[in-house]
Structures are given as C-alpha cells and as structure tokens.
Amino acid sequence: MPDMPMTTGPSLDVLLRRLLDTPADFLDPPWRGREGQLHVAAVVNDVLAMHGTAMAAPLRVTLSGGLQGVNANQLSLSAVMAWLLADATWQSFDRDGEQLQALFSEAVPALAAEAAATRYVLEPDRREELARTTIARLGLLPAGETAAQAADRLASVSGVERRRLLEASRAAEARARAIREALARKAAEESADKWTRE
C-alpha cells in the first residue's frame, strides 16, 4: 500500500452508511464445494468489471470456494468488500486496478484473520476499520482529513494496520542498520577518486 495517500477520496460517512446497509444475503454462507450459496468469485468479478478491471486468474481461484486454505470468513468478507466497492461514490475518484485486486488478495485476508465478517458490518469500530483500510489502500484520504489524521485514525482502529506499521518500522530499522554498517565498512572508509576534495 502507498505509505502516504495523497488524493482526497470518498466521505467516510458514505462508506459507513453503505456497510450498515449491507444486504443480508452478502453474509450468507459462501459457496464452498458442497455447502453455501453465495458465489463470491462471481460477485467480486462483477464489481471489478464495474471498475473497469479484469479479475486476475489467481484471485479468481482464491475466491472460487474450491481452495481448502481459504476459509468461509475470508470469502464472506470479500463479498462485503465487493458490496462496499460497488457504491457509486467511487466513480468520482481515480482507482487503480492492481490496488483494487490487492484489497481482495492482501487486505481482506489480513482483516478476516482478525474478526468475523459480520463484525465488520455490525460493529462501529470494525466498520470504520474496514472503510478506512479500503480508502487508504486505494491511495486516497477520507474527505476532509489530512494524511496525518487519516494515518493516526486508521492505526487507532486497526490492529492489522498497527501490525503493518510495526513491520514497516522493523523493515525500515533493518535498512537503516544496513546503511550504517555499509558506511562503517573499511571499504567505504577508503573512498574513491574525486578530482577535487572538499
């Protein structure tokens, strides 16, 4: 996900309202071979097509209901995400096909590992987490918020985001350490030719 969303995106209220209005059949058990009704891959395919992007084959397989490693909760939350992305408000903002697909391949699995899909519809904090995560991962800002406000609020409502930040900070620290070590090497000390020395 971009580290610093730049462009103003949809109103958070609009998306929270949209989640509150999630139709009950989106939370029906997803089709997984011999059980469930909702064909999540088809739902997601339709919404991606609506945004002008073709569903990537690996994502189609992931959401097909045919993989044992993909549980029902991840499929249900994918359906909820599809519902959220089907709102007309998105038409006003630039959307990137890869980022849209990454919502299903990266954000949804992480969120689904934290809580049941129904909680992202029924509980205010989880609703906000889902809406904010979606906006942020599309490289946008909630309308009326600065980048710093949006980042702070997302980190406060989202355990997934907090962990992501922690991992990013660990990676940044590892990189900084590697740079310091590279600069301290004997080879770095010895330097290289310049025609003038300050």
């Binding site: 990189r175 290289a192 030719d193 300050e198």
Partner: protein, 449 residues
C-alpha cells in the same frame, strides 16, 4: 566486516599501462610517502556510462531562474517522498516553498534516513566532512558519484576555454593537502584514458626530503593541480618549474590576493570552485560576471531567510539546495550554512557575494602555524556534537563546548594542547543552540590569505 579492498576492486578496469603509471607515481625517487590506498573502483560499464554522463552535463542547460523552479522539480519531489525515509515521514505539503528546510544537523542526527530505499548498499562509500558548522558528518556516496565530479569540473573548465588533454601515461591531476595528517594515494582516471591521479600532502612529514616536493611535481607534470588556499600558499613557496594548465581551488574561500599571486607564479588560470561534500562542485567564480556561476543544472538553488522563506534575486541569505547528482543523498531544501545572493550570469544562475568557509590557522606554543583541519583531526576522536576553537589577539586559545559535553572537556583540552605544542587552552560553555562558526580568530595572521 572491515576487510580492505584488493587492487582489483580499487581499479577494476586497470590496463598494463595504467599499472605502470601507478608504479611510477608510487616509486619515483622523489615520491612522497603515500600513506593510504584508494582507487576509482569503476566497473567497465560504469566508465561507459560516465562518458555519456559527461557529455550530457556539458550540454545541459539550466531550466530555472531565481524564484522559477525547474520543470523536473515535481518529479524529484515525488521520488524523494516515495523513496527517502526522512521525507516520507513528513507531510508532502502542496507548495515547494513551504516545505521545511533541512540542514547538517538533520543529516548528522541519522544519515541513514536520507538514503533512498532503492540504493544498493554493496558498493556504498562514505565521505567524512568536518565543515564549519560544528556537525561532523559521514556522507553516503558511490564510486560513480565520486567520478561524476569530473563532469562538473569539465563544465567549469570549458567556461574558461580549457579542455583537458592528458591521457594514458600522463598525470591528469594532483590533489594537494597541507596537513599534519592527510589521506594520500595514487590512482588512474578511466574516463581520461587512465591519466594519473595523485593525492599528496605538502607537509614536510610526508617527504623523505622536503626538496622532493618540487622535484616530484616537476617530474610528474600534472595537467591540473587541485588544492585549497592553505596548500596553494605552500605551493607558492616551492621552486617549481612545471606549469600546470589550471589550478582548482576548493574547500575554502580563495582570496583575490592569493589567486593573483598563483596566476602570476604559474601563468595559468586559477578556478575558485564552490564545492561541498554534500553536493559536489556547485559553482565556479567568473570575474566577468562577478559571482560564482552555477555548474549543476540538476540542482535547484534557493537563497532563504532564517525562517526558510525563499528570498528574491539580489537579496542575501542562506544558500539552500534541492536535487543533485549523488543518488545516495538527494537533497531537499538543504541549508548549506553558506551565504550569498542569487543573480543571473547570462542564462545561467550564479551566487553573488558568496561567504563560504574561511581558513583559519593557529599559532602553536613553538611559534609554528597549524591549520583548522589539524584542529579538526585533533578533536575528531571525541564524540563532540559541536565546538568552537577561538584564537584571541594574543594567540591564547578558548575551546567552546556544549554544556552537555562538558565531561569531554579535559580530553578535548589535552588533545588540543598537544596539537598546539603545549599552548594553554581555556574552556568555555557554548551557548549557541544552532549553527556556529567552528574556527575563529582575533589574531589577524590567523587568516592565511
């Protein structure tokens, strides 16, 4: 971790002729004691790229004027905000002019945060600077970055109608130091068909016979001699017969008096380059325009006031840099600590009234002079964040230290006294919170030229 490089790493493209030249520079009967080893470290494909780079730099035009940023600025800002941890952590903001400035203190606090994510670390090198502002710095660089200096030197030389000619088997450049301790070595420049490069120290300590200094330079016949006002003042005293094509003066302000004396003595132009480790060669003084004409079309220069507000052309303030050719350290509104005003020299921007670093020398108890670089070396082993060494009119010395570093005072005084042949050193608290002049003198002879 601390393995020294091999010759194959120092000179990856070295030919047999190049090897012989290295040997001649090192083993000449009048050669100085070369205390270190270094090299160009350039890979064959990098040499090819550098040749193309030099042509681009020679042909490039400045696309900005004071107050009118270049078209490449927006893309540069996008890149640094996406790739450089320090800038990524800040709000991108909307107006360039409103972005906070950075300075040496920021770099000194954690240089790693200024290195872009995509920069590979395997061949990273560093340049150490002392500078006048009290923050010792280790700056990230790369062999290609070091080699790019020459492109800007050539641009400066071309301004005065000089094209470099020395190549295979000849000495291209001799870099002079005049310090008690100095990094000295020999190398060759692959983009100049392996012309020779020797960095030598004119200090008598580095020679078997002090008369060898003139002999060595006369025998090696460098096309270019580069140095600072202190080493050039020494060069002036040597009985040389060799006439280089040009002298390049860097590091410190070159006085008109010294420049005139050098031009008369060597019968060649003396180019006063404004250059710094953070940015490379930035400008060259051009008498015809009465200012330092800029050399890097990829560097946007502002002059700002204390609050970081860009000042209009003609108004004096702090020189502030954005851009640059060191891909390990892109600068964004970087305050140099140097002052001047912007103006135009034809279609090229220039800095008028540059007030850079003025060399200071100190009188030791034995009546000899040491320069501020020696003082830097004496204090360098101590973890001082900043200091000021002041020479009073009676040659007495006061060392100013931050209150928080008073615990290092005894050690600092001892080191300074040793460098000053035992001269007494007083200690005072340093109250300045921000930038300060590191080396100052009330004794007029402390200014070398």
């Amino acid at each position: 971790m601390s393995q020294a490089p091999t010759d194959a790493e120092r000179y990856p493209t070295l030919s047999e002729e190049g090897r012989r030249l290295l040997q001649r520079m090192r083993e000449h009967p009048a050669a100085p004691i070369f205390r270190n080893q270094s090299g160009n470290r350039l890979l064959a494909e990098e040499v090819t790229q550098l040749r193309a780079y030099e042509q681009q730099v020679m042909a490039a035009r400045f696309e900005w004027q004071p107050g009118v940023p270049p078209p490449w600025l927006a893309g540069f800002l996008d890149a640094v905000h996406a790739q450089v941890p320090y800038f990524r952590a800040r709000d991108r903001g909307t107006a360039f002019e409103a972005l906070p400035t950075t300075d040496r203190g920021d770099l000194a606090a954690d240089i790693a945060r200024f290195v872009p994510d995509p920069v590979p670390l395997e061949r990273m090198m560093n340049f150490r600077t002392t500078g006048t502002t009290g923050h010792p710095l280790v700056l990230p660089s790369h062999p290609v970055v070091a080699a790019r200096y020459l492109a800007y030197h050539k641009r400066a030389l071309a301004r005065f109608g000089i094209g470099l000619q020395h190549g295979r088997g000849q000495m291209g450049v001799m870099l002079l130091g005049m310090q008690q301790r100095c990094f000295t070595y020999v190398s060759v420049t692959p983009t100049m068909d392996e012309s020779g490069l020797a960095k030598i120290n004119l200090h008598p300590n580095d020679w078997r016979d002090v008369d060898d200094r003139a002999r060595y330079i006369d025998q090696m016949q460098p096309e270019v001699i580069a140095g600072d006002p202190i080493s050039f003042a020494t060069l002036l005293q040597l009985p040389l017969s060799h006439r280089p094509r040009v002298l390049l003066s860097v590091s410190m302000a070159l006085s008109t008096g010294l420049r005139t004396a050098l031009e008369a003595r060597f019968g060649c132009p003396v180019l006063d380059l404004y250059s710094m480790n953070e940015a490379g060669p930035l400008a060259v003084h051009d008498d015809a325009y009465g200012g330092h004409v800029l050399l890097q079309p990829g560097m946007y220069v502002e002059v700002v006031d204390a609050s970081g507000r860009a000042l209009p052309a003609g108004q004096e303030g702090e020189i502030t840099l954005t851009g640059g050719f060191n891909f390990c350290l892109p600068l964004l509104r970087y305050r140099t600590g140097d002052r001047g005003a912007l103006a135009m020299a034809g279609d090229v921007p220039m800095i008028v009234g540059l007030q850079g670093r003025r060399p200071v020398r100190y009188l030791t108890a034995n009546g000899r002079w040491i320069n501020n670089i020696d003082v830097s070396h004496a204090l360098a082993p101590l973890p001082l964040s900043r200091y000021r060494v002041h020479q009073h009119a009676d040659a007495g010395i006061t060392l100013h230290l931050p209150v928080a570093e008073a615990g290092l005072a005894d050690d600092a005084v001892a080191r300074l006294q040793q460098a000053l042949d035992g001269r007494a050193v007083q200690v005072q608290r340093l109250h300045a919170e921000d930038k300060l002049l590191q080396y100052t003198t009330d004794l007029p002879e402390g200014f070398t030229a």
